[in-house]
């Protein structure tokens, strides 16, 4: 993590220190908002804090040079999800609660902790950002083939787009099937016959 970020500044040490300060506060912010979203007793409060969570998450994505992911996070999570959740709240009822925070269900928290620990164990096997041992660099034949042949094969100018829509077409097709199935399920629940 710090290895790749050190390359941002001309001379390593001071820049790494500042960069880590930004990272640390953004991480603290994201973890805190996630925690309070889970614990808030009032649903509307949870929706609002969840909006703050996606703000921090998008800033973090931007910081790691993934502006496309940040844009998606901003549009979907902060914009669409908030409005959808509010619409759902408007159609249902919101109960006023005495306590501000939910009491923690210990078995559920334990299961979530175990899952978290299991996932963290795999972190050691992920290559560092920009590491020459990463699979993407150790298989130059494969990666270079995509860069060289994408346009001839698919006539799509953007390689990332071509991989998503053409080379990984079946995967994307599967996603479209899932979305379509969800739409059908919504129609059945709403007792409607057409998407309109």
């Amino acid at each position: 993590m710090t290895g790749a970020l050190a390359a941002l500044g001309p001379a390593g040490a001071p820049v790494v220190a500042q960069v880590t300060a930004i990272e640390a506060s953004l991480f603290a912010f994201v973890v805190l908002t996630a925690l309070f979203t889970a614990l808030a007793r009032d649903v509307l409060a949870a929706v609002i804090i969840f909006g703050a969570y996606s703000l921090g998450m998008a800033a973090l994505y931007t910081f790691y040079r993934a502006p496309d992911v940040a844009m998606t996070e901003a549009a979907i999570s902060a914009g669409v999800t908030t409005v959808l959740l509010l619409l759902t709240l408007a159609k249902t009822t919101r109960i006023d609660h005495e306590a501000a925070f939910e009491s923690v269900n210990l078995p559920a928290a334990g299961a979530a902790g175990l899952l978290f620990g299991g996932l963290m164990l795999t972190m050691g096997d992920i290559p560092a950002v920009g590491s020459p041992d990463a699979p993407i660099w150790s298989n130059p034949d494969v990666t270079q083939w995509y860069i060289a042949e994408t346009y001839a094969e698919t006539h799509v100018e953007n390689t990332v787009m071509a991989v998503l829509a053409a080379f990984r077409g079946f995967d994307t097709f599967g996603e479209a099937v899932v979305v379509f199935a969800a739409g059908i399920a919504a129609l059945i629940v709403l007792h409607r016959e057409v998407f309109a």
Binding site: A21, L26, I49, L55, A78, T82, V83, L89, A90
Partner: protein, 101 residues
Amino acid sequence: MSLVDAPLAAGVTLGDFLLVAAAGFAVLAVGMLYRAVVGPTMQDRVLAVNVLGTNTVVILAILGAALDEPTFLDIALVYALLNFLMAIAISKFTVERGGVL
């Protein structure tokens, strides 16, 4: 040599200074979270999240200048717009039940 590399003082460039400023704003975000969590009214929370959103836009803009990445400004713009939308949606929801957009 870009403007970001311009020296401000001994060993400190403008880029370093901007990164420190961005870190300061990120620390402030954690403080603003207090009002969003504690409330006590919904208006407090909406206002807190709105301030947090503006803070995020400022962080993104400063990072864009410090790391010399003009594309960060596009994300900052998207965020400014979405932040407004979110505040409107939640405010409208709390005023007239059932109306969101």
